[in-house]
């Protein structure tokens, strides 16, 4: 494998990590002024800011790797949905508060495991990004764990809502543990995380929280996949249309 194709794998890998953070951040930022009470509104905004900052870090690095003179905004605003590589779980609309926190719990447990492993990457930049962002994800996890337990073991209505959320999101979690060829190659080189290796830890952690929250682990028999291949849900199109509107309508300007 030539250095170039190695770089191509790495570029696509880092781009994917940037896309994961980008769409999550975009979705969470929509909670601003809509939270269940003011303190929580501010807390959600902070989580959104963390993800947006994370997206910039990954996009910056990806742009460097690509070496074609693109920058973070080019990557965020001028790729259509077929070029976005994020996991489907991250792009779904944020739904009600239970939906948001159920998704966040699963993403946060995943992120903590993933970033802990990514710190060991032989790629210095990825390792540094992982070190900075692990603390954030640990904080996010404290929050989402608290909320899932509170909603699961709160009222009948909150219990119903969060159980429904887990039931509806579960099928989107399978692809989180299925590395594609590029990732496998990079993992073998000690650069990327082999996400199949974190499934057991993730399962244990999620099961623990579900139990404490008096919730049931959903059925395993359905799955929706395609994020890393650019085969997205129908939610991503409208999200990108909204996000990219200004740049597409007024291209090539400074803001």
């Amino acid at each position: 494998m030539t250095k170039n194709s190695g770089n191509e794998h790495l570029f696509r890998y880092v781009l994917a990590l940037g896309d994961d953070a980008m769409v999550l951040g975009q979705g969470l930022s929509d909670w601003c002024s809509r939270g269940p009470y003011l303190e929580e509104d501010l807390a959600l905004a902070n989580v959104a800011l963390d993800y947006l900052g994370r997206a910039r870090m990954f996009y910056d690095y990806a742009a460097q790797l690509e070496g074609k003179g693109r920058n973070e905004d080019d990557l965020a605003f001028f790729r259509d949905s077929r070029e976005y590589r994020n996991y489907l779980l991250h792009e779904l609309p944020h739904g009600d508060f239970a939906y948001t926190m159920a998704r966040q719990l699963m993403v946060d447990i995943y992120s903590v495991e993933y970033l802990t492993a990514l710190i060991k990457s032989s790629d210095e930049t990825l390792s540094a990004i992982a070190q900075r962002t692990l603390k954030e994800s640990q904080y996010h996890l404290r929050r989402s764990r608290t909320w899932v337990v509170r909603l699961g073991d709160g009222t009948e209505e909150s219990h119903r809502r969060i159980q429904t959320a887990f039931d509806e999101l579960w099928g989107y979690t399978h692809e989180l543990f299925e590395p594609d060829e590029g990732e496998k190659t990079l993992a073998a080189e000690g650069i990327a995380v082999d996400c199949s290796t974190i499934k057991d830890a993730w399962d244990r952690a999620v099961n623990g929280v579900l139990a404490e929250a008096t919730l049931t682990r959903p059925d395993e028999d359905w799955a929706v996949r395609g994020g890393r291949k650019g085969i997205h849900t129908e939610s991503l199109g409208p999200m990108l249309a909204e996000m990219q509107y200004m740049q597409r309508a007024y291209p090539g300007l400074e803001w």
């Binding site: 601003c32 269940p36 009470y37 003011l38 800011l49 905004d73 009600d96 803001w255």
Partner: protein, 326 residues
Amino acid sequence: MGNFNCDAAELERRFQQRVDDELRIEPKDWMPEKYRKNLIRQISQHAHSEVIGMQPEGCWITRAPTLHRKIVLLAKVQDEGGHGLYLYSAAETLGVSRDEMIERLHNGSAKYASIFNYPSITWADVGIIGWLVDGAAIVNQITLQRTSYGPYARAMVRVCKEESFHQRQGYQSVMALAFGSEEQKAMAQDALDRWWWPSLMMFGPHDAESANSAQSMKWKIKRESNDSLRQRFVDQTVPQAEYLGLRIPDPELKWNESRGHYDFGEIDWDEFNNVVQGNGPCNRQRLAHHVKAHEDGAWVREAVKAYNEKQRARAEAEASAGQHAA
């Protein structure tokens, strides 16, 4: 209310003396009931303004044209919410609850700054709001750092530290437009045309026409007159507009050498009153948005309380089970 060592008139006299001596009034100090009500009204309405103000800028977060602008805007709107929090916190020291304040906002008996009843319809509006609306707010808030009620003054000190950053970010955003393409310049000018007069209206009616002004000044809740603050805002903002090459939509605006200030035109008080009374472009929408968020969040707040209650019951059960075992 128990035995006081002095009568009401004496209490009032000592209170006023304290105010005149520039000593702060703190939550546990005796205060005239009207002072307390006046403050609750002012502080809670200030808080409501910050929170409602999250809407016209917040609606552009998902559409910000760059990642940098998106992050800066989200951080700014979050700050504004945070200011609302400081202010609700200050108001709660006066014996009113958050729930009561929210209820008053929803039933229309508490107001918020009318400026937020205008729509934010282009990206340029976001920068203009940061430059003008925050600029006007800063002029007001700087003087409030010396307001007589301690918790309110301290909240204002914290707010002022953060607010100038917001104004600068807004101005920078407008600069990018004013020095950008023809289309961007036109966008900025159009936004300035729409937001200038509402910004001046933020300072309220002429003092002679303001029912609360005199008493608020006597109690040092308010430190400077509406007109004086408005003049300061105009004086500081005109050069900023000139630097941008943007035209302020007031044909009567001109420097008055003998006064040492800018002369400017008369506000359309019909429009002002109309908006204050609820007939501005966005009044219903702003309130409906807040009501919806609050109602949508009710089951979440109920869940928090239910969970706490369950935890408390469990702890009690364990404690008494422990006692029986022992």
